[in-house]
Symmetry: C2
Subunit: 340 residues, 2 copies
């Protein structure tokens, strides 16, 4: 079971999800196909629109790979509307391909809440996993990211859920992030055991008893400094941490633009250092990462930003392929079945 | 009651609190006294050490302003030890001056947990305030800060506490932050009313019924972009947000140093833009702000970083003086008495 998956990965791409769909999706698919032929794609969406974009950009797309969907889940749709009333939407149809074993993965830059609901309710959870979770990678001062779980799949995670996140995060780090011995911390208000809330205390007890490489509490400041490779927290906290982290680069850009506009000298100075800053802070641009995996689902599910660029879409497809190749879902299943 | 306080402010300074005490404290006190004579200082700490530092730096300190304290609360002391067993410590003695009406304010760069306990238990809460709160200012793209409450006074704030924080934050913004009509948001995982956890939903209901300028939910990304002037959250979340925010600047500096060390050209580029960045990001250096006020206490209490610089100590003293001048504690009392 722990060997690589030799079967080609079949990825159902929601072509209508992103803010700029299907434009960025078509371009992203094209980039992915240029890079690798390790996977087969099922492009789910409005056939005419997909063809039009492809023709306009001179991109050849195999007509047989397109599965026509008549509906689109909008960013404004509630997850319930999306799931119950839009059965012919590209997202729901893509999820059904995974459910029915016709695809190994779903990739979507669509409505995040809808993707969570559709993935969890249609594809279903892995047996033994209480809650699925989304992890987001933060750049650190080291040469490896710090991945925070959960960043928004739940808003009221319990201690047992944090343990579930940790088990999956540990496997994900070893298999996908090339980290053979990931350290795990619980996000709290102080390093000391005595600092935290009830969730922190209860989760620390569970993690302390596990075989995971648990190092105790970490603080907000420890994320960018990579004190642990994996940081566990309730999805409410993680979502705020993620969005605050994402906003920093934008804030920095804004401040530098204002400074540059104050004088021609300032503009020159900022111009000189722009490349330097970009390099120094590479890894902070979440667009480059592509989407985040929803772990704990009985199939691969990759959720992207609504504003995902073609590069991000490509990276989402490649991530889904890597997760398949590494047999991740089976490894999760193994781990949770031995836990029972 | 709403006029300015004409009586001179008496500030009890914990001279032994910071990591570098009493060195930074003596220098900070000297800076404050150079800038203003609007306040009287009671310098609580080891008399010999204070005198030695002052003599070494050629600083004249009125011997009568020093009150000798035999004990020091260490950073490693638990709040209980600090409060119960170190009654002759500089921090406890300074708080007692406020309790007994001999001082209007306590200022300390010492153990934060101890300052919380000492301020709350010795000086006591304002009648009607369920929980005291600490607010921290974040720089924004506008010319005014975004202040997040609570950043760590509680780890399990309830909805009523968030309303209390909002009432005090509103007065603080008007009186101290020169913001005549502060907007208030609740930190959540989405802007929509339906996004959040139980605390968010309950607090939104209370705030919606209040006379405060409540604008609904804000997200992690809205803090640096100043979507609301005041952001409310549980102290567990706020503390993580504060420490993550503080770490950005350090992370940026680290990344630029690594980049600079790669080549002489890189070093030149970074050197050129260092000043620009510093200016562009001024306001992100929390050392400059000085400490944060603990609101809801029946007296002025300013808590500083352990690593507070002399400049930070000076700013803490000036902030205490301003809060006194603006009659803040009486305004809080008025507001909470009319609430009952």
């Amino acid at each position: 079971m722990n060997t690589e998956n030799k079967r080609k990965c079949r990825i159902a791409v929601d072509m209508m999800g992103g803010d700029n769909a299907p434009f960025n999706e078509v371009l992203g698919v094209s980039l992915a196909l240029q890079q690798s032929d390790e996977f087969d794609l099922i492009l789910v969406g409005n056939k005419d629109e997909i063809r039009e974009v492809a023709a306009g950009k001179g991109i050849e797309i195999d007509d047989n790979s397109i599965v026509h969907a008549t509906e689109v889940i909008r960013m404004s749709d509630t997850p319930t509307v999306a799931f119950k009333e839009k059965k012919d939407s590209s997202m729901v149809m893509a999820a059904k391909f995974v459910k029915e074993g016709k695809a190994d993965a779903i990739v979507s830059a669509g409505n995040t809440g809808a993707m969570l609901a559709v993935s969890t309710l249609i594809i279903g959870r892995i047996k033994g996993v209480g809650r699925p979770t989304i992890g987001a990678e933060f750049p650190t001062i080291h040469n490896k990211p710090c991945t925070v779980y959960d960043v928004g799949a739940s808003v009221d995670s319990k201690a047992q859920h944090l343990l579930d996140y940790a088990i999956m995060a540990d496997i994900y780090a070893r298999e996908i992030q090339n980290n053979p011995n990931p350290t795990i911390g619980i996000l709290s208000v102080g390093e000391e055991k005595s600092k935290g809330n009830t969730l922190v205390f209860e989760a620390a007890e569970l993690l302390g008893k596990s075989n995971l490489n648990f190092i105790g509490n970490v603080e907000g400041r420890d994320i960018f400094f990579g004190k642990s490779d994996i940081v566990l927290c309730d999805g409410f906290v993680g979502n705020i941490v993620l969005k605050l982290g994402e906003s920093f680069l934008k804030f920095l850009k804004h401040k530098l633009t204002v400074y540059a506009n104050q004088s021609i000298f300032n503009k020159l100075k900022v111009g000189l250092v722009k490349g330097a800053l970009k390099k120094a802070l590479s890894g902070m641009d979440y667009q480059e990462h592509g989407g985040v995996p929803l772990l704990g689902i009985n199939g691969i599910s990759i959720i992207g930003h609504g504003s995902s660029s073609p590069l991000a879409i490509k990276n989402m497809i490649l991530k889904a392929n890597l997760m398949h190749k590494k047999n991740l879902i089976n490894k999760f299943k193994e781990s949770f079945s031995s836990n029972e």
